[in-house]
């Protein structure tokens, strides 16, 4: 076998092996998106009810709760960035990190010090490589987050928020979250939202009754808020994590699908090249034989 042909064959083998891997990853992600979507859907009733309740308390009570009132002179802000643990998901992690960078720039313009809280190895790696301070980091559950994971993250954030930013270097005045919204199998957007001080976001589903009921609070509005807000933040973080996980799977499926397609194209063009090389080899061999026979014939003809 000619050298050229051997090289083509070797490259084809390696591309085929890569294709098997990317194809497998594509199929795995495709099956996990569905599960991740179901988990997002299953967490929605709880999140919606909590949002309604928080809206109601915040709207109808005159209590000045620390969690709902903005600081007059904010000095520090926390950003929670949710990224992936593993790569091979196209620009998924990068988009979230970039969105976080933009938000951080915006906050710095307002004169705030930014404290990054990171979820997922990709974001942690990005910050470590640039030698930046990290206020908190959690890894290892980006593709299948549990409520306990969300609780852990939310607890750290709430603790930092409750600490007085004016006196405590770990305290923050604002908490922002950057995650990837799962709109559909095809559309996922990295987005930044402010969690605290409260900016109550209405759920996607329109409220059943236009007006929130005039609740009676037991025992009273401020105790209810005290108990309600941590749960609300946990639910928000959990929801963001679940949406990000679904987005991660969707992004990975897409990236792996195009990798598989590219491998197919590559194999096709390599096959063509290998065929041409083989044919050239055969042609050369024939012309060598013919040339040799010719030389023998003319040599024996000359001796007669």
């Amino acid at each position: 076998m000619g050298a050229q042909l051997r090289i083509y064959r070797r490259r084809m083998r390696s591309v085929k092996a890569t294709k098997k891997i990317t194809k497998a990853m594509e199929l795995i992600s495709a099956s996990r998106i569905v599960k991740a979507q179901q988990r997002v859907a299953a967490s929605t009733p709880y999140a919606n009810e909590l949002t309604r309740a928080v809206s109601a308390v915040a709207t109808y009570s005159s209590t000045n709760h620390p969690l709902t009132t903005a600081s007059e002179r904010p000095i520090r802000a926390a950003i929670l960035i949710i990224s992936a643990d593993r790569g091979m998901a196209g620009a998924y992690s990068n988009n979230a990190i970039k969105e976080g960078e933009q938000l951080a720039a915006l906050l710095r313009e307002r004169g705030l010090e930014v404290k990054p809280y990171l979820v997922g190895r990709k974001a942690v790696g990005y910050y470590k490589f640039r030698d930046r301070q990290i206020a908190g980091q959690w890894t290892g559950f980006s593709d299948n987050p549990t409520y306990e994971n969300a609780k852990e993250v939310a607890d750290a954030l709430i603790k930092a928020f409750i600490a007085d930013a004016q006196t405590d270097a770990n305290g923050v005045d604002e908490i922002h979250i950057v995650f990837t919204e799962f709109k559909s199998m095809l559309i996922q957007n990295a987005m930044a939202k402010r969690m605290l001080p409260l900016e109550v976001v209405e759920s996607d589903a329109p409220a059943p009754a236009g007006l929130l009921p005039m609740y009676e609070f037991e025992p009273n509005a401020s105790v209810v808020l005290d108990a309600l807000l941590p749960r609300y933040i946990e639910a928000r973080v959990f929801n963001a994590m679940l949406q990000s996980a679904a987005s991660e799977h969707a992004a990975r499926r897409r990236a792996m699908k195009s990798a598989t397609d590219n491998a197919d194209d590559l194999i096709k063009s390599l096959t063509r090249l290998a065929n041409a090389a083989r044919q050239a080899e055969i042609t050369q061999e024939i012309s060598e034989i013919v040339g040799g026979a010719d030389a023998l014939a003319s040599a024996s003809a000359g001796s007669e």
Binding site: S43, Y46, E49, A53, E216, F217, E218, V224, L228
Partner: protein, 83 residues
């Protein structure tokens, strides 16, 4: 007239349906909710939630903390963990 009851945890909807009454334990003490209860939002402590379904069956859940919200004959019980 019946109550529309939902018992939800962060990961799933545990129970939903029609009921005649719901009882739970808030920080202030036990509370029972019948139809046409005035809008109420209470903080629950660890304890039992009993839902008396329209079919006469009572379903009991052990919850660890949570919230009870009542409005317009809709009762929602939010809790972090249910046994």
């Amino acid at each position: 007239m019946t109550l529309k009851v939902e018992l939800v945890s962060p990961t799933q909807r545990v129970w939903s349906g029609e009921a005649t009454s719901v009882s739970a334990r808030t920080v202030e003490g036990d509370i029972g909710v019948l139809t046409d209860h005035s809008p109420l939002f209470g903080v629950l402590v660890d304890g039992q939630v009993v839902i008396h379904g329209t079919n006469g069956e009572a379903t009991e859940f052990k919850v660890s903390g949570g919230f009870l919200s009542v409005a317009n004959n809709r009762v929602s019980i939010l809790t972090e963990s249910i046994n």
